[in-house]
């Protein structure tokens, strides 16, 4: 199942819709934090707090992604491998 199909399927199901929404939002927040981190590193302003925030978002993203894949597989579907960039592309 392609990611766009997965999104569509999730959005039609209450529990999966919430899970997908949280995953997509986390992916985008992670991207924002990564871009900010790059800018801060260039300005030599990146600090431990920024790193901790980034690590937290990465862990949360992985947890939500694994949970969603688990739920989808329980329904007998396979999902093509995806990560933050593929999710972002669905919203730009």
């Amino acid at each position: 199942m392609k990611l766009a199909e997965l999104k569509e399927m999730c959005e039609k199901n209450g529990v999966l819709a919430t899970l997908w929404h949280d995953l997509a939002l986390t992916a985008i927040k992670l991207r924002e934090s990564q871009d900010l981190a790059v800018l801060k590193i260039q300005q030599k302003e990146f600090n431990l707090e920024d790193k901790a925030k980034l690590d937290t978002l990465i862990k949360l993203f992985d947890r939500l992604k694994n949970k969603l894949i688990e739920e989808i597989e329980k329904k007998g579907n396979d999902v093509l491998s995806f990560d933050v960039p593929e999710i972002i592309e669905l919203y730009v």
Binding site: H21, A24, L25, I28, K29, R31, E32, Q34, D35, L36, A37, V38, L39, I41, Q42, L54, I58, P85, I88, Y91, V92
Partner: protein, 144 residues
Amino acid sequence: MSQSFRDPFLADAWKRRAESERGFEQHDRLTLIYLELSKVVRKNEAFSELFKKVETAAVKYDLTIATLARMRIEQSGIESIAEADRRRRLAHDALEDELNLLSRSFAKSGLDNSWRYDIGTSREAVGNWARKVAEVKRTQLLKR
């Protein structure tokens, strides 16, 4: 007609693969333009500040895209989304200014600035290149 063209499953699989490869080539070309440009700048330090400004403008543009996407997902109000979109357009304008400045400086110094045409002149082409630059910077500076 061969069996493969009659088989809708194979035809669809081939079409998807061709689309994917075209996408890969496009991304690869954009990355190459950036990496080649970086190489030229490393050999000509006088351009390093201007080049850094281009890189920074590219990442800032990428950030405005993510912010706009977040606001859409969060279903922020129409006015907030319009404001985020205005910021995205301004970031794009700033990026084009920096890019054109670097290109003109190259030309003035007798350096090849054909990379500017290779990037493309449409807003979409410049935006796509900027997003690729941001991706390379993330890969270079962050673990993920």
